[in-house]
Symmetry: C2
Subunit: 196 residues, 2 copies
DNA sequence: TTTTTTGGCTAACACGTGTTAGCAGTATAT
DNA sequence: ATATACTGCTAACACGTGTTAGCCAAAAAA
């Protein structure tokens, strides 16, 4: 009988959620089956249900744990007393690092949230919309202070967030530049595109 | 008996492919069923098979028709005798307009190609890789000519392509700026991020 | 050691999937 | 008008899905 291996402080459920993130990223939520997941965990499909309620629960957990981290960060950044352009750069760097170091989760949250079921779906979409508005507001205040070009703020947000999701390609590429280089290049281009 | 309606020069297959694009975009390839598609077309599921070979054939057609348009465009742009930065801007504007006016197809090609089956899958990935290399080469020549900042070209490509796929959010948003404004804003930020 | 809880297993379910076979109207060409 | 090619239908298939029930061994608690 093959038990799920756990270290201290990592529940078996956490192991499942982590493997699920990896699988959902690779195949997509719908295409990844519970039998696939079971195999990845080293157990029979039915056994998973000793630890989780449903397949969608896995998606909830992934999506909201990511969303919460971003909301917490924007709370923190908004409260700081620094120029808007620095706030933007801070958020940007946070996004980049999340995408680099929590790749699978962030990617899944970004691409697979469509498959959430209500009420989680509406909830998630709301949080997302609000987050983007708050980000846009920072940019607009940067425009008012002449720190940022006169551009459409929602469009700028859209560009930045999606550009960062391109780190997916970096992860998959064989000849990677270092994470630090990647971060600097992205900041150079994106902040450079806003300022002056 | 409810026939599929067609105008002149539009085959019933084209009608199906178009509806498929819309459905795959909305639900994702795996989650969109042939019965969904049939309903959208106004027919029973089995009837679709008088016009198409399989569900994946629909995905092939969508992915490769988009890919071919982009390859054709980069052929054209590479051949022009203009500064690299202008080539970049031309490609950028082409991408933006494709995403604006052939939204569903381009989106599906971008997000759902994972579900292609070999040999189409390898083929598509190859074309994609080659396209990005050619794009990166243009940027690199721009760097050599001091038209473009010293940045990592593959990273710049990744940013630009993914930023453009963010037009998805524009399509879904209720308060849209005009397509022309969107284009100018994107070019301003992205080209601005590369130059100087 | 004994008892209880935890976590695995097999078997099975109800259902949704893509697809095929065979048939019958309908449009098109002769 | 007759023949032929289209294009729709119903019925059915084989299979993969998420999930539950019921059972038993192993770990944890007593």
């Amino acid at each position: 009988m093959a038990r799920i291996k756990t270290d201290k402080n990592i529940s078996r459920k956490d192991v499942i959620v982590t493997k699920a993130a990896s699988l959902f990223r690779e195949k997509g939520f719908k295409a990844a089956s519970m039998r696939d997941l079971a195999e990845a965990v080293g157990v029979e499909a039915a056994s998973l249900y000793n630890h989780i309620k449903s397949k969608t629960e896995l998606l909830h957990e992934l999506c909201f744990s990511v969303a919460n981290r971003f909301l917490q960060k924007i709370d923190e950044v908004e409260a700081e007393k620094i120029p808007s352009i620095e706030k933007i750069e801070k958020l940007l760097r946070f996004h980049i690092n999340e995408m680099i170091h929590h790749y699978e989760e962030v990617y899944v949250s970004d691409r697979e949230w469509k498959h959430l079921a209500d009420p989680y779906l509406s909830n998630f979409q709301n949080q997302r919309r609000i987050y983007r508005k708050r980000f846009a507001a920072i940019i607009e205040s940067g425009i008012r202070n002449n720190e940022v070009k006169k551009i459409d703020a929602p469009t700028a947000v859209l560009i930045m967030l999606h550009a960062i999701s391109g780190i997916e390609s970096w992860h998959r590429s064989t000849q990677k530049i270092s994470a630090a280089e990647l971060e600097e290049n992205m900041v150079t281009i994106l902040v450079g595109g806003l300022t002056q």
